[in-house]
């Protein structure tokens, strides 16, 4: 019934507008929800709309957002990456160990952590594209393997020893009080946007997700691009892990347990379809911020942690319902 009401409204719009509308509609929905939450929190909590708090939120959401951008690419190919939380932890501990035990300078340590993530992504990508494993299964396996490795290399204890300058990544502040993690989000998002919309990789990712066989029969080297997509997701998970490690100046082997759910939720809320072929960077960012604001607002309003879970779950339902509605509308219009 809701569908019919929405449909009759949208049917009255001119074609061109309607097309763009449907394209942007999930972003609109999530973006609208974001605005509503921002308005609500601004009214209800005096501390919310302060530069301090907003910068805090930006820092808090940075690693989730960065990882979500990587996972967006994977989900566009109709795949999924469940391993990002564990890979982030593994990258964090190994990166810190490289700096603390091997004495690597901070930039190399961060690079090292990112490469660890890329390596895990490569394994995922090969399992999916060459061995033909279902992405859910392949990355589920990596989830446990990476977590196990995190515990083994650290003896199940947090690792310290990185130089103080490592804190800059996750705690540094630029002129004007803008936290470095926020800058990182912007840079990674821009890069993600360019990749998705302007490069072969992005285009082929959409094609593969929309119709794998059609992509193959159009001469696209599917294996190569599918693997690349997982490598990127892994690398961003690794980079996100370094950001998280920098925030606490240590490598925590138990970091990120369950984080993949927040990440995937962000991507889905932002309008990507788990069936592939759809998804945008902006949408993912909106989704990530939406979740972060729900968490932030809950603490500001002293709401129980577990209610936050329920709220986020409901938001996911609404996002997916909207996605279904949009699909049905489009399907109905093509005989």
């Amino acid at each position: 019934m809701i569908s019919n009401v929405l449909t009759s409204i949208t049917q009255r719009l001119p074609d061109a507008v309607r097309d763009r509308l449907y394209d942007a509609v999930s972003q609109l929905a999530a973006g609208g929800a974001l605005l509503v939450i921002i308005l609500f929190l601004s009214i209800v909590s005096p501390d919310f709309l302060t530069a301090d708090n907003l910068f805090n939120v930006g820092s808090q959401v940075a690693y989730t957002a960065v990882m979500a951008i990587g996972v967006t690419l994977v989900i566009i190919t109709a795949g999924i990456d469940l391993s990002v939380g564990s890979v982030a932890a593994l990258s964090g501990v190994l990166g810190v160990m490289m700096m603390g035990n091997l004495g690597l300078p901070v930039p190399l340590g961060i690079l090292g952590g990112t490469l660890v993530g890329a390596g895990a992504g490569l394994v995922n990508g090969l399992l999916v594209s060459v061995a033909g494993l279902n992405p859910f299964i392949a990355t589920l396996g990596m989830l446990t393997v990476a977590r196990g490795l995190s515990y083994i290399v650290t003896d199940a204890v947090a690792v310290f020893g990185a130089p103080d300058s490592f804190r800059l990544l996750g705690q540094g502040v630029l002129a004007g009080g803008i936290p470095i993690p926020v800058l990182i989000i912007i840079l990674v998002a821009l890069a993600g946007y360019v990749v998705l919309n302007r490069t072969r990789l992005g285009r082929y990712a959409y094609a593969i997700g929309s119709n794998l066989e059609a992509a193959r029969l159009s001469g696209i080297p599917v294996r190569r691009y599918l693997t690349s997509v997982y490598v990127i997701s892994g690398a961003l998970a690794g980079f996100g892990g370094m950001i998280a490690a920098s925030r606490v100046a240590s490598g925590q082997p138990n970091f990120g347990i369950g984080l993949e759910l927040d990440v995937i939720a962000a991507v889905v809320i932002g309008g990507a379809s788990l069936f592939g072929g759809q998804g945008t960077i902006l949408g993912t960012l909106i989704g990530a911020f939406l979740i972060a604001l729900i968490r932030n607002g809950s603490v500001l309003l002293d709401v129980n942690t577990y209610y936050q879970q329920i709220i986020i779950g409901v938001v996911i339902w609404l996002a997916v319902y909207w996605d279904q509605f949009r699909r049905k509308r489009l399907a109905a219009e093509t005989e």
Binding site: N4, T7, S8, Q11, D15, A16, D19, R198, T199, R200, L201, R203, Y206, A207, S210, N211, E213, A214, A215, R216, L217, S218, G219, I220, P221, G277, Q278, L330, A331, A332, E333, T334, E335
Partner: protein, 504 residues
């Protein structure tokens, strides 16, 4: 051609009065009046989007009419849903069958109305009653067989038997011959005639012109949701029918040009792939349209795919311009100038969610160092839209929103962009309107004129006989013969396709 004789009850078994169906923004069925007489074969013809399917959905109570009445045997019918329609004796056989492949024939026949009490199924009764029904539709197999093992034609027969199981008075068949061979079509027509002899009315949706003339008693033509007219089949000819369906004159359904055929440009020798392709060889020449004919499963698509590199071949060689090439993957085939338009454009050909422009450039992206030249892409798409007359409000529109004919044009545009000299068209007019079909054949003819080598795969013989210069006939994985244009005849093709005669 006509079925039961003059002993028809004058009362229509179904009468539609002023039926309309409105969807948001679309008037799918517009004040339709229609009578269906018992024991007649009534064909409903029209292009895609004419409203035929929606009309059938109204009859089978899958959709509720927005206005108008339906009468069954003189009594008005209330809308209660598909189950109600079945109880009243209206049975629908869909294009995609509604059978559960893992269950047996008998279980499928009685789905939802299994004989038995207190929740227990009386299997013996189920099996024997199923056997009787199968006899009536001329299907000679065991009712306990799982449906999955049956051929498409057999499954269709089971669907028809399902209709008999509910004691249908009206059976609706939606494009039943799309996936059948010639012989199976003939058998189907036999079954239909025996059903109408029993007094069952058969409503038959089709746009295959020659079939309409073979089976129909009366024909109702729909266009844009309205009924154009209902006429006895005897009063129709092809031109009149097409004119009613399209609303304008189509002078040339099969525009065949005279083209000078030049040298051999591709030579495939000894292509083998397991049991599917057995030592197949053929040649393609510049300017020539070569047809691949054969029954479903003969290996035509497989041969095309093998040459295109979409499937691995175990042995055999491919020569381009006299030089042997290893084609192996679609990527290499495209680089070598070979293109392949898939049989199933939605399933394998198009990225439905992406725009027209993105689909067109999919096989040949204008890009350097990994970055796409969006401006060039736009120009390419506009150029192709112009050239092929692709009807879409914008080149950015998602391809899934286009009609079948225009979707097919997008696929053609894609392959034109690869500058392929050798093109395989696999069932290019399946699911395409009469008007757009002519355009596509015009296109194919034009491509041949430009000197490209074309293979046309089609299950619809008239297409091949009209458009091709040569026809290669396949049977069970091997080439059973070749016929050149001056020797074309339906009988020759069918004989080679079914094995009645070996290579000429």
């Amino acid at each position: 051609m006509s079925s039961a004789e003059t002993e028809r009850a004058p009362e229509p078994v179904i009468r539609l009065r002023n039926i309309s169906k409105e969807f948001p923004g679309v008037l799918a069925v517009d004040e339709v009046d229609l009578d269906i007489l018992p024991g007649e074969v009534h064909v409903v013809a029209g292009e895609n989007g004419a409203g035929k399917s929606t009309l059938m959905k109204l009859l089978s109570q899958v959709e509720r009419p927005s206005a108008g009445e339906i009468e069954l045997s003189g009594a008005p019918v209330e809308f209660h849903g598909p189950r109600h329609a079945q109880n009243l004796g209206v049975a629908m056989v869909y294009q995609e069958f509604a059978l559960a492949p893992d269950l047996s024939v008998a279980e499928n026949l009685f789905m939802g109305r299994e004989p038995g009490r207190f929740g227990f199924v009386n299997r013996r009764a189920e099996t024997s009653e199923a056997g009787e029904l199968l006899e009536r539709v001329g299907l000679d197999l065991s009712p306990t067989r799982p449906v999955a093992g049956l051929t498409v034609a057999e499954q269709q027969r089971v669907e028809i038997a399902k209709a008999l199981a509910i004691e249908a008075k009206v059976m609706i068949l939606d494009e039943p011959t799309a996936t059948l061979t010639e012989r199976e079509i003939e058998e189907l027509f036999g079954v239909i005639r025996s059903l109408t002899d029993e007094g069952i009315a058969v409503l038959y949706i089709s746009h295959r012109l020659d079939e309409i003339f073979r089976i129909a008693d009366r024909v109702t033509v729909m266009r844009d949701g309205k009924v154009v007219d209902t006429v006895p089949a005897g009063e129709l000819d092809e031109n009149k029918l097409v004119r009613m369906m399209v609303g304008r004159e189509i002078t040339d359904l099969y525009p065949k040009h005279e083209v000078e055929i030049k040298d051999v440009v591709l030579r495939a020798t000894g292509i083998c792939r397991g049991n599917v392709l057995k030592d197949c060889s053929f040649e393609m020449r510049e300017g020539e349209i070569l047809g691949f004919a054969g029954l479903v499963g003969a290996g035509r698509t497989e041969l095309a795919r093998a040459v295109f590199g979409a499937d691995r071949i175990e042995s055999g060689s491919i020569e381009l311009d006299g030089r042997e090439v290893a084609v192996g993957t679609p990527q290499r085939a495209i680089e070598a100038g070979i293109g392949y338009l898939t049989e199933d454009r939605k399933g394998e050909g198009l990225a439905l969610q992406l725009g027209v422009d993105k689909n067109i450039t999919l096989a040949n992206l204008p890009a350097s160092f990994g970055f796409i030249d969006l401006g060039a892409e736009r120009r390419v798409a506009e150029r192709q839209r112009e050239r092929l007359d692709i009807r879409t409000p914008s080149i950015r529109r998602a391809v899934r929103m286009l009609s079948g004919g225009n979707q097919q044009k997008v696929v053609v545009a894609r392959w034109l962009e690869t500058k392929a000299r050798i093109l395989f068209f696999d069932e290019p007019t399946r699911g395409v309107d009469v008007g757009a079909k002519a355009e596509i054949f015009q296109l194919i003819g034009g491509l041949a004129e430009e000197g490209r080598a074309i293979v046309l795969i089609s299950s619809y013989l008239p297409e091949l006989l009209n458009m091709c210069d040569r026809i290669l006939v396949m049977r069970e994985g091997s080439v059973s013969g070749e016929i050149s244009r001056n020797e074309f005849s339906e009988e020759r093709v069918i004989a080679l396709a079914t094995g009645a005669e070996e290579a000429s």
